[in-house]
């Protein structure tokens, strides 16, 4: 049995998305910038997708810029504001638990002379809004806080942060902008740019059953943003480069499906995720759930298994056809354990024993049953093998 529980890494494309894209590889070949009818049909497909994405996040279509994915979207937002607002100040505020696409961009700006404040988070993984308010100075031009964390699923209080940012603007900091990396949040929780109160929002298609290599940046009307990619006048002169028409069509279709099926999908993911956690807790002793359990996306569960190494668990589960991920050191070639779980204040042992299960609306109870029983056997075997005497071994026949 193959069970894919790593949907925060990437998802399978929905069949409807594949069908929508296919004509744009070989029949509808136009360049959306061309004046002839081939080009105009491509253009109309791109604009339809723009409306679909805009609808999903309650934006205007003109506020959507297509980019190559979440990483470019984050880079574009942060560098774009740094360059456009740099004359007003050189201070950026973000958090310690951002995705590397944000952290590494901020670090690059530090090398270019910017000052960056990396806010800590609580044990539940949440930013303290008052901390954030105190961090704002007359030099601050950008606040970038992720909407949902990719490792724990914890959802930050962006509306409250937007309130603090609006207040600072009212005091005369009119150049201050708010960006949120919503890559893990879109299609999981309601994401409405107006009620969130953000100026910039990043999303990526392949996290919600769209194709890889395509994403979008929401840029609130009137927001000055420097270009990342220079060239032609594509995307209302915001991002140069021939539009990736098939991928954009795929993103649009994925957004449409996510919008239409939102209630069903999120209820289904939450039900299966809660079932997974109930089963794990009832079958395996010494397990803790990491991060805020209320304020989190419905498809992620991050759990620590005391006394075992997450990567060893991952390898053993993989041999049984089960795909998960881990914040343990060495994962994905990195030697540093998860910066997110460390920022939450987890002990080294808890970080080490952590696994992330990320579900999709298509995950079934049968898959969870197989995964949990295999997990139970594997944890028991690894604990039995460990030279530790004081851990209660779970009972499996």
């Amino acid at each position: 049995m193959k069970v894919y529980l790593d949907n925060s890494a990437t998802t399978a494309m929905a069949p409807e998305v594949v069908d929508a894209m296919l004509p744009y590889f070989s029949e509808e070949i136009g360049n959306a910038q061309s004046v002839h009818s081939f080009g105009q049909r491509a253009k109309s497909a791109v604009e339809k997708a723009r409306r679909q994405v805009a609808t999903l996040i309650n934006a205007a279509p003109t506020e959507i810029v297509f980019v190559s994915g979440g990483t470019e979207s984050d880079n574009f937002a942060i560098r774009g504001i740094a360059e456009a607002q740099g004359h007003r100040g050189h201070h950026i505020i973000t958090t310690k638990i951002e995705h590397p696409a944000v952290l590494a961009t901020c670090e690059a700006l530090e090398r270019a002379g910017f000052r960056v404040t990396y806010l800590p988070v609580s044990r539940r993984g949440l930013v303290d809004v008052e901390d954030l308010g105190r961090a704002i100075t007359d030099q601050t031009i950008l606040v970038s806080v992720m909407l949902a964390n990719n490792e724990t699923g914890s959802v930050q209080p962006i509306e409250m942060i937007a309130g603090v940012v609006a207040e600072a603007r009212g005091r005369g900091l009119d150049g201050l902008r708010l960006h949120t990396d919503a890559v893990q949040a879109v299609a999981k929780i309601p994401v409405d740019v107006k009620s969130l109160g953000v100026d910039l929002l990043s999303l990526s298609a392949h996290k919600f059953h769209g194709p890889k290599g395509i994403g979008a940046l929401y840029v609130r009307k009137g927001t000055r943003l420097a270009k990342l990619l220079h060239g032609g006048h594509h995307e209302r002169d915001r991002r140069a480069g021939t539009e990736n028409v098939p991928a954009i069509v795929g993103l649009g279709k994925a957004a449409q499906l996510a919008f239409e099926q939102f209630d069903d999908r999120s209820a289904r993911m939450r039900e299966i995720r809660d079932y997974l956690e109930r089963q794990v807790k009832s079958l395996i002793p010494n397990v803790t759930v990491n991060g805020d359990q209320e304020r989190r996306v419905p498809n992620i569960s991050n759990m620590s298994f005391e006394g075992v190494d997450g990567e060893s668990l991952l390898i053993a589960l993989d041999l049984k056809g089960i795909a998960v991920s881990t914040g343990s050191a060495c994962a994905s070639g990195s030697l540093e354990p998860s910066h997110v779980l460390q920022a939450l204040g987890l002990t080294r042992e808890e970080v080490r024993g952590s696994l992330r299960f990320s579900l999709s609306p298509f995950t079934t109870r049968d898959e969870i049953d197989y995964a949990v029983s295999t997990l139970g056997e594997t944890v028991a075997r690894l604990r039995e093998m460990a030279p530790l005497e004081d851990l209660e071994a779970p009972q499996f026949s």
């Binding site: 041999l319 080294r348 039995e384």
Partner: protein, 120 residues
């Protein structure tokens, strides 16, 4: 990133456990990552006749501990003093460069367990 041999030892670790009244014990911990290997051996005459191992930590540590028992059971003490981390690494196919310390830990466990038996 890991070889099929490493994965196979994780799935089916060999000679897991502890011997009663062992001739030697090698209980070693990597002070950086806290990976731990506890090896117990039985020596009769010039030969290492049996071994059991317990291990905790990342996949290469568990695999190195497991494959170590296969490399040492039935070998002479003189032979075992010449065993190196390279033998462990080769038995696992390959280890990422940052992970050779796991093979070193396995050899440390062996050296400690047979330290009471002089080199041939």
């Amino acid at each position: 990133m890991y070889t099929p041999q490493v994965a196979e030892h994780i799935a089916n670790p060999r000679n897991v456990g502890e011997l009663d009244n062992p001739s030697g014990v090698g209980d070693v911990t990597n002070e950086v990552c806290f990976d731990r290997i506890k090896l117990t051996v039985r020596v009769e005459g010039e030969m290492l006749v049996d071994a059991r191992v317990k291990a905790s930590g990342c996949p290469p540590t568990i695999a190195a501990a497991s494959v170590l028992t296969e490399l040492i059971i039935g070998r002479s003490i003189a032979d075992l003093h010449t065993l190196t981390r390279k033998d462990v690494t080769e038995a696992l196919g390959h280890l990422p460069p940052a992970k050779t310390h796991c093979a070193v830990l396995a050899i440390d466990a062996l050296r400690t367990a047979i330290s009471g038996y002089k080199q041939g």
